[in-house]
């Protein structure tokens, strides 16, 4: 999975676009039990409606319907290859959707860029690049600074503040290649913080960090939630899910279940998420093949 993932992210400009243009897209699908637009509160921070994503005609996400509750800390949970990273990327228009609609506060992503922060998985970066930790965090403020304006002191202070929040104030000047894996992870978290977004999407921010760092990061995520922001986090460690998240989204190609953790994070739902992986994929592939070749609806 990792290899696939890094392949996408390290791909040259246009490669993703290339598959978008070249790959055959299934028509917009209407399903039984279709969720109508009315069921989605207009102002939800993130509203995913009927989204299907396929790589080379192989469905990776199938009919995803989900509204993130405002001001919540949501754990996205599912086995390797469940499509968690793909979900975040499709929502951010980084990979093409076969069908479906995604809204942030009632508007498509391209209108709401400033409000949405993203922390990628670590692989996609050229770590030898000559930038300091501070430079990377400053990039988070580019939208606010303006592309043609010089970086002012206020922005520099905001960036330093974000670095201090993740406990890296002392390493601001250090080149990113000279940071440990966990520190690098936190630099990218700080970049997202510096953006001051209202919705955060994070892809495994707790992977490969030590216990202390994990506590720091969780504290930050809670702060963000308490400030009224909505935070969606891909998370692998099932043990800590009930402790960390108020909501969960259980994902395995389809949404298996979602809702408040206490009610949703049950043994039964977990069994469905982790046990039935193959059957779900096959079902979806079969259905997609039928629709692709079938008569127009």
């Amino acid at each position: 999975m990792r290899r696939w993932f890094s392949h996408t992210s390290a791909a040259p400009p246009g490669c993703v676009e290339g598959t978008a243009a070249g790959g055959r897209r299934p028509r917009a699908v209407a399903t039984v039990g279709l969720a109508t637009g009315a069921e989605h509160p207009r102002e939800a921070p993130l509203s995913i409606h009927d989204m299907t994503v396929a790589y080379q005609q192989r469905p990776v996400l199938w009919d995803v319907d989900y509204d993130a509750p405002e001001g919540s800390l949501v754990g996205i949970v599912g086995p390797n290859g469940a499509g968690k990273s793909t979900l975040l990327k499709a929502v951010l228009d980084l990979v093409p959707k076969a069908s479906g609609r995604v809204m942030f506060y009632g508007q498509p992503y391209r209108r709401q860029r400033a409000l949405v922060g993203y922390v990628p998985q670590r692989e996609s970066i050229d770590w030898d690049f000559p930038v300091s930790a501070l430079d990377v965090v400053l990039m988070g403020r580019y939208g606010r600074i303006g592309w043609f304006r010089p970086v002012t002191r206020a922005h520099r202070l905001a960036a330093l503040d974000a670095l201090a929040r993740v406990g890296l104030a002392d390493l601001a000047r250090r080149q990113i290649s000279q940071l440990s894996g966990g520190q690098q992870q936190r630099v990218f978290l700080a970049r997202a913080l510096a953006q001051e977004a209202r919705v955060y999407l994070m892809d495994e921010p707790l992977a490969s960090v030590d216990a202390t760092t994990e506590r720091t990061i969780i504290a930050i995520l809670r702060e963000l939630r308490d400030e009224g922001r909505t935070v969606l986090v891909v998370h692998h460690d099932l043990q800590t899910v009930p402790e960390y998240f108020d909501h969960v989204l259980l994902l395995n190609t389809r949404v298996v279940a979602h809702g408040p953790t206490a009610r949703t994070f049950t043994a039964e739902n977990l069994r469905k998420t982790y046990g039935g992986r193959l059957t779900l994929l096959e079902e979806a592939a079969h259905a997609l093949a039928q629709r692709g070749g079938g008569a127009p609806a």
Partner: protein, 282 residues
């Protein structure tokens, strides 16, 4: 060294050479840095070889058909931009064909150039100076053109600093922030193409790729940010050009190759020094 400075003060042709070298160094520092950190020197190499085609065609039209307004530098610029856009388009739309296209352009560009040079009367003798540089023959008019090119390149490279940094460092992030990534990639290739044209008037098209990448590569060893790297690369490029001019002039050697030997020697020296430092620490 002192004698060289005296001679520069005395002879206009040496002044012109120094002026052209200094101007080219600034573009080299700025664009060379982007090219090195984005790891696209091989693309710049492909563009460089297409430049010969442009020069050949321009000289042919100029001499055989009386298009007096078309200078070799103009032909080189047009050919470089076409090559950059062509390679850029292929690398955006069909990445898996990129190396094939670049290799083909390398050869076809050279071949076109050599053929047009062959059928143009009295041009065969110029071939060497196009291939290995003719900085000592730079005319004041060429310096003007170099100055204009330089202003365009450095202006664009600095004006779009943030976008280019974002695109080079983390393309996905740039895309999310709404930067038209493809457009800036093409812009970067065009800047690289113009810089190749500029530098090829100093060291010739065969050697240009070394002068574009080595100063930035040396600077990359000790710089922690992109703009530091640009300034250091500019200074290093100046050092190599002046150093090469001086030794070349004193020892009666071709300036272009001498400049490249300076650049390559420095790169080796720095690499060796770092390896030695690492050994001692270990």
């Amino acid at each position: 060294m002192f004698e060289f400075i005296e001679n520069v003060a005395r002879y206009p042709f040496l002044q012109h050479a120094v002026a052209a070298g200094l101007l080219a160094s600034v573009a080299c520092g700025v664009v060379g840095t982007y090219v090195v950190v984005r790891r696209i020197t091989y693309i710049a190499g492909g563009i460089a070889h297409c430049v010969l085609g442009g020069i050949g065609i321009a000289r042919y039209l100029n001499i055989e058909h009386g298009w007096t307004w078309l200078t070799p530098l103009g032909g080189a610029t047009v050919a470089a931009i076409i090559a950059a856009l062509l390679i850029g388009w292929v690398s955006l739309r069909a990445k898996e064909r990129e190396d094939t296209i670049i290799s083909a352009l390398y050869a076809v560009g050279m071949a076109t150039g050599v053929l047009f040079i062959q059928i143009t009367t009295g041009m065969a003798t110029d071939l060497q100076s196009y291939l290995f540089g003719n900085i000592l023959l730079v005319t004041p008019q060429q310096i003007w053109m170099i100055g204009v090119l330089n202003a365009v390149i450095v202006g664009a490279g600095l004006l779009f600093y943030k976008q280019l940094l974002a695109v080079c460092f983390d393309e996905e992030f740039a895309r999310l922030r709404g930067v038209p990534v493809e457009l800036f990639y093409l812009l970067l290739l065009c800047l690289a193409a113009l810089t190749v044209v500029l530098l090829s008037s100093v060291v010739g098209i065969i050697l240009v790729i070394a002068l574009l990448s080595l100063p930035a590569a040396v600077a990359g060893f000790f710089c922690r940010s992109l703009w530091q790297m640009m300034i250091s690369a500019t200074l290093l490029c100046t050092l190599f050009v002046i150093g090469g001019l001086w030794t070349g002039y004193s020892l009666n050697l071709l300036a272009g190759p001498t400049i490249i030997v300076w650049a390559g020697g420095s790169y080796l020296l720095v690499t060796a020094a770092r390896a030695a430092g690492r050994l001692r620490r270990a």
